[in-house]
Amino acid sequence: MSPRERSPLGLLLSSPREVARRCLEEEGLKPLAVASLGALALGAAVFGGVVGSFRGGEQVLYGAIKVPIALLAAIVICVPALHGIAASLGRAWPLRTVIALTLAAAGRAALVLLAFSPVLWLAYDLGLGYHAAALAATGAYGLAGLAALGVLLRGLGRGKHAVTTALAFVAVFLAAGGQTGWILRPYLVRPQTRDVPFVRSIEGGFADAVVRSTRSAAGVYDEVEREVVRSAETAPEWVDPEPYDVSHEPSYGYEREDRWRAR
């Protein structure tokens, strides 16, 4: 069957070049966009539900709702930036072309997430630990991103600044996806967690984490971090095996629990 005879879903899976061509030449955009949106909603919902199944209960439903919303929100925020960057770097495409290309890329990624979902669910069911579960989900997300990149790179073609534009696209999507994902967290919750909110309070974000880490690396600690570091003294060794010298910190009248620090 030639690419031109395939359904939009079939094209998304097997012919990223034909998908990119249709987006750029605005041929059959409506069925392609509908298929991409449907794939995005289904694939992201199933993947989110599987991630939520690590804890189970209402977290399955929460994950199935939040992952598609986070992905769609990231796309909505990204598209104007991608349009502007592409225009500045020699690809002054119409906005609808950028929307179609981005949706198609996201739809393809969501289908890859859908393909990984049964494997991930089985791994969780067989007793995968929390951190390994997080890594597995992140790995699936990364591979889905590579599938999306296939559509974008074919859309960018072989002209000048193709690599720079692709890198800019990836950076913008990571920034948007990271922040929208942060806002709608949590997704992967430990099974022993009793009450799980639909979303937590925002408490900073990706930019805050980068700033805090930079300041901590330079030895500048905020009041909250000093308290966290101080409380680490009393934790068991497996939490913080490295001793911390608090002789220069103000005393709060809290004695060190030396029995937890037996070497």
């Binding site: 070049r17 960057i85 900073g204």
Partner: protein
């Protein structure tokens, strides 16, 4: 039986063209009757052709042709697009902060175009480069429009970060990244447009022009950042 063995002759070997092999790399493509080279198309996909993209308003905005009136119109559009980014930055505080940032963001673009480019044009004219004032102005307008397009596109992302960041430092960092990206892409476009105009000059003139453009680029970066840090409260300007 012995007669049958004597009469036996081996079967004729078929000619190579009768049974072509898929991976026969030894076949000389120039030889008569040789197979044509393999098509460019990959499996299940048609042969690659450059897609025919329709023109867009962004393409018209980044055009360097036209009279002074159309240049002014495109420059004003670029300024307006850049101010959208300022509105996004001011969303953290709201109210008059949005207006202050909306004025401050395009101010740096105007400063570079109004202060830096005439100086660059004079320097290039001293080197006897084939650059007219209209072309130089066209390059400046393209730079401003390109920056405006990028900044307007980054406005939703910037608004997301500046509104949801819990600390001012994080919001400032996010704002700075957007300003840097928009400014650098606009500067790149301006310099690339000038380079196209200067392609007609001789090699010595072109070399001098490159040095001048590098100096202009550094000046533009420092001036742009000076203006932004002075005018935008979010990145350290007067509140």
């Amino acid at each position: 039986m012995e007669a049958a063995i004597e009469d036996w002759k081996p079967a004729p070997v078929p000619h190579s063209q009768a049974t072509p092999r898929a991976n026969d790399n030894r076949e000389d493509p120039g030889a008569p009757g040789a197979r044509p080279p393999a098509p460019v198309a990959e499996r299940n996909e048609p042969a690659y052709e450059e897609p025919r993209v329709r023109p867009s308003w962004a393409l018209a905005l980044l055009d360097t042709e036209g009279d002074w009136r159309s240049l002014c119109r495109r420059g004003a559009t670029g300024i307006g697009l850049a101010s959208i980014y300022g509105v996004a930055l001011g969303a953290r505080e709201g109210g008059t902060a949005m207006l202050v940032h909306a004025v401050g963001v395009p101010a740096a673009l105007l400063a570079v175009a109004a202060v830096g480019l005439p100086a660059l044009y004079i320097l290039l004219a001293l080197f006897d480069t084939p650059l007219s004032p209209r072309r130089a102005a066209g390059a400046a307008v393209v730079g401003v429009a390109s920056s405006g397009l990028v900044l307007a596109g980054l406005a939703p992302l910037a608004a997301l970060y500046v509104v949801t960041s819990s600390t001012s430092a994080a919001a400032a960092m996010a704002a700075t990244f957007g300003l840097t990206l928009g400014g650098l892409l606009g500067l790149r476009h301006l310099v690339a447009t000038l380079a196209e105009e200067l392609a007609k000059a001789d090699s010595a003139t072109r070399a001098l022009a490159v040095v001048a453009q590098i100096g202009f680029g550094l000046f533009a970066i420092v001036l742009g950042w000076r203006v932004w840090s002075a005018l935008l409260p979010l990145v350290g300007g007067a509140s």
